[in-house]
């Protein structure tokens, strides 16, 4: 009854112009003026109603940069076109194969080309669909789509998911609703414009009703709907903007939620890989005689990253891995430690302008360590290779890239690889790369059986991907109480973006050489929201053989965090209150609104005992705005946040409850990064191996409450949220600490 998604896609009516549902033009994700584009739904060949979205794109037009009174800076590039826009643009041309289906069982099914990793995207998209098709939210099933080669730029990143799905998901649902109404009008013999819809059904004025499940077969025959597929105006919405719990909450609390290692793939052998002590060390020789003789061991095989052990159970795989005798060659960093990289970064960082006798300056330099993403679910994947084809199960932020990597690694055509995207137990950027699924494919091919590869926690922390070590050097000049120039020079270990990022940029119309990927991401994400005169922010990167990757907030996690600490130091130099100073130098009312609200929520300026203080910070990215106010107590054995207040404006909040979770949770990331944890590189080896030595914040480090105010819709399209909070949360906490201790923190995590 329900068509296979891929075959339905291929069987779709081509060039749906004649049959497309009429969808009113909608503003682009970038906001008014960034570009005009619209999605239209078109029918897929199917016995039930199944629709795909088609994009019609007009030429993008740049909008003017923000001005405001006082000194006017050039608009930052990220104000015009940010990284999320690029992701949306690259993908937009391929959204013709997004699929929405109404089943005869009265379920509305949507295939989401994204990874659900805790951020709540599946619930948010279900809300968009329920809104526009007029279904009960509980009747909507959002499923994670398999990787599809005809959807090459699928990426779960840069907080762009809601922005990317906002137009096409609603367009599809509205188009489906128009066809369901049309089918109902024919069945009931009444004019279509007299019918209403709600609760997954169509209602006639005389009280008769038909469920969508009863209508779907006839709706699939409707070529031209009798009513317009108009999306609801903001005032008509009854789902978007309401507080909803996660769609999968019950599965999670009953243990039914399936992660990659929980998927029941018959015969998949538990597999571990013995890895070198050094980063990128290699095998010289090994002896597996004892390991092979141990109970439960099925195979031992060498792969490029180490020696794989496959057994009937993980207990047996662990024991056998311990019994391997391996002679390792040192890795490329065997003579490199933190201090060497720190010195290199200092040497390569671009200089700030010389001081002038006429101007006063404020200077600061901030240092950040390597940091593992450390999602609680270790990296893992299941792969079955048979002949020249492979089937994979993996939690991937870049499923098409992962599929391509598997195909290349085992030498099979890409079209012979299927890849199922499984929910992730956290990601934070770590699942942009896909080493475990490649390893699983290599092992499965070598031994001729399906395998599940699990990295244990030590593997994950010592050989996974790292937030790069970085330094941020800043100089501001001021005269007569006004900031005249602001220079930020960031030097960092190169962030690896080679997860299909270049191809995506090309598709978005930006040809960028691989060496410039970091520059492209930097330019499209970092900005200074204040009237600080002439602003320049520059990045210099140096490649080291430490595996890196984007970490929640990417460059903003360093740049904007450092800037917001610097703003407090500039305010102090000018003898101004940190809140009032921000207020006076922000550009827009929308920016000031979140700052003012959080100051009010947390009673900014209230008297605090010695050793306690408030800190405040602001951040503006992904077309969203946020401010944090943190109260800290530094009189105990270690500093603790005692209260946190957040005000967030994402343009259009889809699910305020999920949004609150994002800005609450990211505070703990920020706290960990600034106060608790960082990795150390000692002669080519990462020192930390589990959560005790990489000290992620725990309950006893959490503030007792984090109070969040979500502003009601301020624009007509949603911005990003998943990474939004990190810089302001981190800086507000550090600013509170600096005020409580009368210190100027320079190296993070503080005290280590």
């Amino acid at each position: 009854m329900r068509p296979d998604a891929a075959s339905a896609g291929r069987a779709a009516f081509d060039g749906g112009h004649g049959m497309s549902a009429d969808v009113s033009a909608a503003p682009a994700p970038g906001g008014p003026g960034a570009s005009r584009r619209q999605f239209v739904g078109y029918l897929l060949a199917s016995p039930t109603l199944a629709l795909a979205a088609k994009l019609e794109l007009d030429r993008p037009t740049a909008r003017a940069g923000g001005g405001g009174g006082g000194l006017i800076g050039l608009p930052d590039a990220s104000d015009l076109l940010d990284l999320g826009d690029l992701i949306v643009l690259a993908e937009a041309a391929y959204q013709y194969n997004l699929v929405l289906e109404v089943t005869t069982a009265n379920r509305v099914r949507f295939e989401l080309p994204r990874l659900e990793k805790g951020q709540g995207i599946a619930t948010a998209v279900a809300m968009m669909v329920a809104e526009e098709i007029d279904a009960r939210l509980t009747d909507v099933d959002v499923e994670l789509s398999d990787a599809r080669l005809d959807r090459p730029f699928t990426i779960t990143g840069s907080s762009s998911n809601v922005r990317a799905m906002w137009e096409p998901a609603r367009a599809l649902a509205a188009a489906a609703r128009a066809r369901l109404i049309t089918a109902a009008a024919q069945r009931l013999g009444v004019p279509a414009n007299t019918l209403t819809t709600h609760d997954t059904a169509v209602f006639a004025p005389d009280g008769r009703s038909l469920t969508y499940g009863e209508l779907t077969e006839s709706a699939s025959q409707v070529l031209v709907p009798a009513v317009q597929a108009t999306r609801k105006a903001a005032a008509q919405r009854r789902v978007i903007g309401t507080r909803q719990g996660r769609a999968d909450a019950r599965d999670i609390v009953t243990g039914a939620a399936e992660y990659a290692l929980d998927v029941d793939v018959p015969g998949a052998l538990p597999t571990l890989v013995a890895r070198p002590p050094d980063i990128k060390g290699t095998v010289i020789s090994y002896d597996a005689t004892v390991a092979r003789s141990m109970p439960g061991v099925v195979a031992v095989t060498q792969i490029p990253s180490g020696i794989a052990v496959c057994a009937r159970t993980y207990h047996e795989a662990f024991r056998a891995r311990d019994a391997l005798v391996i002679n390792w060659a040192p890795g490329p960093l065997a003579h490199t430690s933190d201090a060497d990289i720190r010195a290199t970064l200092k040497a390569i960082n671009l200089p700030v302008s010389p001081t002038s006798l006429l101007l006063k300056t404020v200077d600061a330099s901030f240092e950040y360590p390597f940091m593992a993403h450390a999602p609680l679910e270790v990296r893992s994947a299941v792969v079955s290779v048979t002949g020249d084809s492979a089937e994979c199960w993996v939690a991937s932020q870049t499923p098409v890239f992962a599929l391509q990597q598997v195909a290349a690694a085992i030498g099979v055509p890409q079209q012979n690889v299927s890849l199922h995207v499984v929910r992730a137990g956290g990601a934070f950027g770590s699942r942009l790369f896909c080493e475990p699924v490649v390893e699983a494919a290599q092992v499965s091919k070598a031994i001729g059986q399906p395998v599940k590869v699990m990295w244990d926690r030590v593997d994950d922390m010592r050989h996974g991907r790292f937030r790069p070590m970085a330094q941020c050097t800043i100089r501001a000049t001021h005269a007569l109480g006004t900031v005249l120039s602001y220079e930020h020079r960031m030097a960092a270990v190169e962030t690896d973006f080679r997860h299909g990022f270049g191809e995506m940029l090309t598709a978005a119309g930006a040809n960028v050489a691989p060496a410039m990927f970091g520059q492209a991401a930097f330019t499209t994400t970092v900005k200074v929201p204040y009237k600080f005169g002439v602003v320049t922010q520059l990045l210099t990167e140096q490649h080291f053989e430490v595996p890196t990757g984007s970490f929640r907030s990417i460059y903003s996690g360093f740049v904007a965090t450092s800037n917001e600490i610097m703003v407090d130091e500039i305010a102090a130099a000018l003898k101004k209150d940190p809140y009032q100073f921000r207020r006076a130098n922000l550009e827009t009312d929308r920016q000031r609104a979140v700052l003012d609200t959080v100051a009010q929520m947390g009673r900014w300026g209230r008297p605090m005992p010695a050793g306690q203080a408030q800190g405040i910070a602001f951040h503006d990215e992904y077309r969203s705005h946020v401010a944090y106010l943190v109260e800290i107590d530094t009189t105990g054995a270690e500093p603790r946040a005692t209260a946190v207040f957040v005000c967030v404006d994402v343009g259009v909040p889809i699910n305020p409850q999920g949004l609150e979770a994002q800005v609450q949770g990211v505070f703990m990331d920020a706290w960990t990064i600034m106060f608790r944890a960082g990795n150390h590189l000692d002669n080519g080896r990462i020192r930390e191996g589990t959560y005790n030595d990489l000290s992620w914040a725990r309950m006893k480090h959490s503030p007792p409450r984090i109070e969040v105010k979500v502003l009601a819709a301020t624009t007509d399209s949603p911005g990003g949220a998943g990474e939004l909070g990190l810089p302001a949360a981190a800086a507000a906490a550090v600013n509170a600490y600096a005020r409580a201790t009368r210190t100027k923190p320079r190296r993070f995590p503080i005290g280590q």
């Binding site: 990793k117 996660r246 999670i252 609390v253 009953t254 009937r312 207990h315 609680l376 679910e377």
Partner: protein, 158 residues
């Protein structure tokens, strides 16, 4: 190999495993009980936390052998509800929308149930002490704290 009599979520099973076989892998790889998660394997993350005995004693299956668990009732997250009726702690987790990625939450819930079983009205300090051996990488701690208080109140009231 010796026969091990395991009683998991009310079902008695005899499995042929050596005494030192790790209970977590007996649950996951032998019995197919996948609610307890692997997060560290050394008892520092709490993702596999389950109960042993009849008094809701929390334990970490990654740190115990099947011989230590045999002949005793073991309850995992799958066995916490009574039929379709969720345990009040599970229900509070849903009511306050605690979970994000959800991977740590079976362990968090089992630890919270054990806490409330011993302390029907836990204070913030009690929660800090009891819950700080469970890592939540998504940072859901403020909601976990609120859900524990709600569940404890529901249990006291009901």
């Amino acid at each position: 190999m010796p026969n091990q009599n395991l009683i998991v979520n009310g079902v008695a099973t005899t499995v042929d495993l050596p005494d030192d076989f790790t209970m977590l892998w007996a649950l996951r790889d032998v019995l197919g009980v996948t609610g307890p998660k692997f997060g560290c394997g050394v008892g520092v993350c709490g993702a596999c936390t389950s109960h042993i005995g009849t008094q809701h004693d929390a334990f970490r299956p990654c740190m115990h052998s099947v011989a230590e668990c045999r002949d005793q009732p073991v309850t995992t997250i799958e066995g916490l509800a009574t039929g379709e009726v969720l345990h009040p702690v599970q229900q509070a987790w849903i009511d306050l929308d605690v979970a994000q990625c959800g991977y740590c939450q079976p362990g968090q819930i089992m630890t919270a149930v054990a806490l409330i079983a011993r302390n029907p009205n836990p204070s913030d300090a009690d929660i800090d002490a009891a819950m700080s051996e469970n890592v939540c990488r998504c940072g859901t701690y403020v909601r976990i704290r609120a859900a524990i208080k709600k569940a404890a109140a529901d249990i006291r009231g009901g």
